[in-house]
């Protein structure tokens, strides 16, 4: 379970303004909202990558704002994080990138590592890409390699920042199917940031909408479709006319 309470974060501007939300164990939660509304900052705060200025964040009943870097590292072993801009290690090959957390976090044989890497690559439609240089990949391929790396250890908490950005509709649907299949396999808690509102609504148990650092909606996908707030309605339906 992830519990965020009255979280504030300021850089040059006030990015998160008292955000509170609760994501239940085993649920798929979609975080939507326009660009620069604080979604990725909230993600990084949940993973303890960015310290918050005020408020509290609990992950599995542990208050992460009180943890030192070593305690955070222990927590992150149970997290899979897909970065918006891939964050792949450019000094490693595709296979080495995906094997990286396996080799460092799990005590597996070389055969088992190779098997798991091949299985992940097959699931993201990149079979045989093990020896490719990261710099040779397209944006969509990098995104899928990042997804494979984030999920290869089968972590119980998964944070996906724009998992389908740059992907064609067919591959996007395959990634959504994979998110659900993986989630069912281990009962993982999944939080997804996505600009593909229609797509992410099909897999989300609940949806939250951030606007200019404030959580203005929290509910099911159906409730989002007929929300009272005109800003939510406009964003969810993609209307050009409206308050946004």
């Amino acid at each position: 379970m992830i519990r965020v309470q009255s979280v504030h974060k300021r850089f040059r501007r006030h990015v998160l303004k008292g955000v509170s939300l609760e994501i239940k164990k085993g649920e798929v939660f979609a975080l939507i909202g326009p660009g620069a509304s604080g979604k990725s900052v909230l993600f990084k705060s949940i993973a303890g990558l960015l310290p918050i200025d005020d408020g509290s964040i609990e992950v599995d009943r542990s208050e992460i704002t009180q943890m030192d870097e070593f305690e955070l590292a222990e927590l992150r072993k149970r997290m899979g994080y897909l970065f918006q801009n891939y964050a792949l290690f450019d000094f490693l090959t595709v296979g080495q990138n995906i094997a990286f957390p396996l080799r460092r976090l799990l005590n597996l044989s070389d055969n088992e590592v190779a098997h798991r890497v091949a299985e992940r690559l097959e699931r993201v439609n990149l079979s045989g890409f093990q020896d490719r240089d990261i710099r040779q990949l397209s944006g969509g391929q990098k995104k899928r390699v990042g997804f494979a790396r984030a999920t290869v250890t089968k972590p119980p908490i998964r944070l996906y920042d724009e998992p389908t950005a740059g992907l064609d509709p067919v591959t996007s649907q395959k990634i959504y199917d994979l998110i659900l299949a993986d989630q069912r396999e281990v009962g993982a808690t999944v939080v997804v940031i996505s600009s593909d509102v229609a797509g992410v609504m099909t897999i989300a148990d609940r949806v939250g909408m951030l606007l200019r650092g404030e959580l203005i909606f929290e509910g099911t996908a159906e409730e989002a479709q007929r929300a009272d707030d005109p800003r939510v309605l406009q964003f969810v339906h993609g209307h050009t006319e409206g308050p946004l």
Binding site: K44, L49, E69, A73, E74, F83, A87, L88, F89
Partner: protein
């Protein structure tokens, strides 16, 4: 016409002092983190070997070229005096003494700083702006253990080894130039070296090079890991790393010369 405020200079001085204090604090914090990790080091062997190769093996040609010319230049500069005072047979001692104690460690460290230190700051800075450092932390990997420690060890070890190599090449450069310009035979050159040079002359230079290696590693890692602001930020970080390390090398050199004698 507006007259400049009398507070402009104090304000700028204050701002510069704050920036300097911030950077020195950052360096001290990184050093403390490194020391804490050295108690029970968990160094990635693959990263260590990769960095030893990149920093050491690939620096050999430039260090050899610099050292050879340095040795030669010292003889060229000393030649008029040695001829005037009829002290040609001292050329071996003079060239070797200054090479071992001062010029060898100093110039090789400056070359190393420009090549390896700059490259290290750029690599780490690029990893910061492409979120690769965050990705390491998200994968529960400590960036100090995984990135900084192998680089620190590689830089200290390779600069130490390169200084020994550079000293030897500079000696050969001096010997050859002495023979060509001053007609000092290699035997005479070597005689003055073996009778006048002490082991401490070599060691004091190597102690300096070890400290220079640590300094270059610390500054390049600090300025690389604190890069902000995309590609321009990487450029600024590299520039700051090279300038800070170069200034630090001269300060450490000055202090060492006093302490080591």
């Amino acid at each position: 016409m507006n007259r400049p405020s009398p507070l402009v200079i104090p304000i700028r001085l204050g701002a510069s002092t704050l920036i300097l204090a911030h950077q020195i604090g950052g360096l001290a914090l990184l050093l403390a983190r490194i020391v804490a990790r050295l108690i029970r080091p968990r160094i990635d062997r693959h990263e260590l070997i990769r960095n030893l190769h990149l920093m050491g093996v690939r620096s050999v040609p430039i260090v050899m070229a610099t050292a050879a010319f340095t040795g030669a230049i010292m003889v060229v500069q000393a030649a008029p005096l040695l001829v005037r005072f009829n002290a040609r047979e001292w050329v071996g001692w003079g060239a070797t003494y200054t090479t071992f104690r001062e010029v060898g460690p100093l110039l090789i460290a400056l070359i190393f700083n420009g090549r390896v230190g700059a490259n290290n700051a750029a690599e780490l800075g690029t990893m910061v702006v492409t979120e690769q450092i965050d990705a390491l932390r998200a994968l529960a990997i400590d960036p100090i253990n995984y990135l900084v420690l192998p680089r620190l060890i590689s830089m200290v070890f390779t600069l130490f080894a390169l200084t020994i190599l550079g000293d030897a090449v500079a000696l050969l450069g001096s010997m050859l130039t002495g023979y060509v310009l001053l007609d000092v035979s290699p035997r005479t050159f070597w005689n003055s070296v073996s009778t006048m040079i002490e082991t401490w002359d070599l060691f004091s230079g190597l102690i300096k090079s070890t400290l220079f290696g640590g300094l270059i590693a610390l500054t390049s890692c600090h300025f690389g890991l604190t890069v902000r602001g995309g590609a321009p930020g990487v450029g600024r970080g590299v520039n700051a790393a090279v300038v800070a390390a170069a200034a630090g090398i001269f300060i450490v050199d000055y202090l060492c010369t006093f302490i080591l004698g």
